[in-house]
Homo-oligomer: 240 residues x 2
Amino acid sequence: MLTLEDARKALAKGSVIIFAGPCTVVYEGRATSRLGVGERLVLIKKDRSILVHRPTGHEPVNWQPAGSMIDFLTENGLPVIRASNANELLKISFTAQPSLMVFDLRDTAEFEMYASEEDMKKAVLAKPSLVEPGFKPLEEERQVKRTGRVDILGLDALGRLVVVELKRKPATPEDVRQLSAYVESLNSEFGRKPRAILAAPSTTKAARREMEKTSVEFRCLTPRRCMQVLREAKGLDSYL
Amino acid sequence: MLTLEDARKALAKGSVIIFAGPCTVVYEGRATSRLGVGERLVLIKKDRSILVHRPTGHEPVNWQPAGSMIDFLTENGLPVIRASNANELLKISFTAQPSLMVFDLRDTAEFEMYASEEDMKKAVLAKPSLVEPGFKPLEEERQVKRTGRVDILGLDALGRLVVVELKRKPATPEDVRQLSAYVESLNSEFGRKPRAILAAPSTTKAARREMEKTSVEFRCLTPRRCMQVLREAKGLDSYL
DNA sequence: CGTGCCAGGTGCCAT
DNA sequence: ATGGCACTTGGCACG
């Protein structure tokens, strides 16, 4: 039978700990939450992040991010876990003796993710016609305005300034507003309105309405298509 | 030693399963990800949600939401877990025999969360002067416009229409733009511009600039203060 | 460190 | 199903 002292040692040693048992959970911080008695899993990782998982739902019901202070206490003969940082406190009180498991996990692998918005940008820079025929990106690095950044700034076939905003998901009214704000910002800077192109796999209806009001143009562009382009470009690179 | 057959039975019975061991992970779906060999915990819950946890970081490195199809396979004598739905596939391939744990968790407790934006709204409806003296909410239910919803619509002391937007976090330029869009929408509907009040604990500098341009007003209102008001109102209720 | 913004965001509730 | 939005959002990159 592992004890709280074992848990302390395991955490100090850099192991991952799991408690399994019935508990109540209280959180006070950015918000406040209460959870009555139920059987849960409590994961404590080597970076002192902590997760409370119920038997359903792929998200933890409560948590504390890495770097928390973790205290293992005993109240009325039962274990209590306090995970706190400057502004937040998570308190897990077991209502019966939980089981305790300790794991020594070694994991140094790189995590690689593809088809992000960043990948869409790379694809457009590799093949600007994805935006429209004759499109020429101006700056490879993101252009910074008074506030926020423009995904891609370029010139169209007629030499007009074009602001391109990329989205990997269906474009929302918020996306349109964001782009319009850039247009206004560039307008007051250069005294001329740039064209604005929102490149995304699709738009919501409301976004479409917002686009008509603000003369933002839509260009259908999917992350999938961008990945194809990147693969082709890469294939070419490795051939050269 | 528990086997994959035990895992299948446990899942069918509604237990929660944890695999611990070295594995590689591949995800294909909305994006694509690769993770090389490393030791991880794999949680499979009774709703067939699945989580892959590395020894650090409070978020899972890969996952699949509830309702996935979970297959336990054997490749080269080692366990493979496939979790798939209509458009997504998660494949976890162990590179050595993992340990397998099974938990029967009973958890029917209600989870209660306070200090949400919804609570701020309740507080304002209970005590409209939180917005400003003389403020009178018009609609308790959220008002639906052409698109989206207004948090609170009301009249000020002089009988002018007021749109109130509540935020539990420092207000951003996007919040201001969202509110301005409502103002425009209401303007074209009623032919007169309503006042717009953004009630939040604070604003970012850029939001402040955006507010000056669009005549959106700021009102300092914290979730904390709202919770106080709700407690007082509740106290009064229970007294009556 | 504040500010802004992407994310396989997730989840909740509306039409 | 789709849409619109809050979330203890988390995370990163950049000023």
